[in-house]
């Protein structure tokens, strides 16, 4: 398999990882807002547990996070861990963009600088070879 093909395949899987993780976090947050603040007592925690088990949005969030784990497992089955792991951090940049575009949140200059560093770092890692170990690659 050509280096370029592995690169595209990994990019596709990392994109799915980022989308699944962000949607999962968003659904969990929305579900917990629907449930309301959790009381820190034995009965309060038990009620929260029952509420989360009966909340469809929470289950949707869990499904997305399972999707993220499966995409991660698939990506590292062929690509380097040190290639996939930093690329996954691209999600923080997407989160910031979503916060500005959808939620109209104000984002500090320091956070934007962090986003720029993440994007540049991911681009640098993306230029390296995705597979550097002596594994036998199997073409799809």
């Amino acid at each position: 398999m050509t280096d370029q093909r592995v690169r595209y395949k990994t990019l596709f899987m990392v994109s799915l990882m980022v989308v699944s993780a962000n949607l999962g976090d968003l659904m969990l947050k929305r579900g917990m807002v629907q449930i309301g603040a959790v009381e820190m007592s034995r009965s309060g925690l038990w009620r929260a547990l029952l509420s989360t088990a009966h909340n469809g949005t929470i289950w949707l969030g869990i499904l997305f996070l399972i999707g993220f784990t499966l995409c991660y497992m698939t990506a590292v089955s062929w690509a380097d861990y040190s290639y996939v792991m930093p690329a996954g951090a691209f999600g923080y940049a997407v989160q910031t963009l979503l916060a500005v575009v959808i939620l109209h949140e104000a984002v500090s200059g320091r956070r934007w600088f962090g986003v720029v560093l993440i994007v540049m770092g991911v681009l640098l890692v993306g230029q390296t070879h995705p597979v550097t170990t002596n594994q036998k690659a199997v073409s799809p």
């Binding site: 861990y81 500090s108 770092g121």
Partner: protein, 124 residues
């Protein structure tokens, strides 16, 4: 203070070792030969029969719960650099345990991502 430091070490150990063990297991499983649903299900079944994948699960659960404990014990300014530092420790593990060739360019990228994640989380 000492319990925070010990929990930080435990968190970084669980998090990076869990991901390294999972990667090792998935390398043994091998990549799926296509993205058809049947092939992907067989791939998943093969992964679930791999001992290394199961070994990774308690380690990853340990990292999740130790992060929750850390967040209740220590300020974010202590916990967040540890989260970002995971990228560096993970890359060291990739180099010395998984024998991946980490070039200078990849190291620079990892360092930038690590600092970037710390900046985003501190302001998040």
């Amino acid at each position: 203070m000492i319990r925070v430091v010990l929990m930080l070490i435990f968190f970084i150990f669980c998090s990076t070792s869990g991901e390294i063990v999972l990667t090792h297991g998935m390398k043994m499983v091998g990549e799926p030969q296509s993205f058809r649903p049947g092939t992907l299900l067989r791939f998943l079944g093969k992964a679930l029969r791999n001992g290394w994948v199961w070994t990774a699960l308690p380690l990853l659960a340990g990292s999740f719960y130790s992060l929750l404990v850390l967040l209740s014990w220590a300020p974010l300014s202590v916990v967040i650099p540890a989260t970002a530092f995971n990228y560096v420790v993970g890359t060291l593990g990739a180099k010395y345990i998984l024998n991946e060739q980490v070039s200078r360019k990849r190291w620079m990228g990892v360092a930038m991502v690590s600092v970037g994640v710390a900046l985003v989380l501190i302001n998040g």
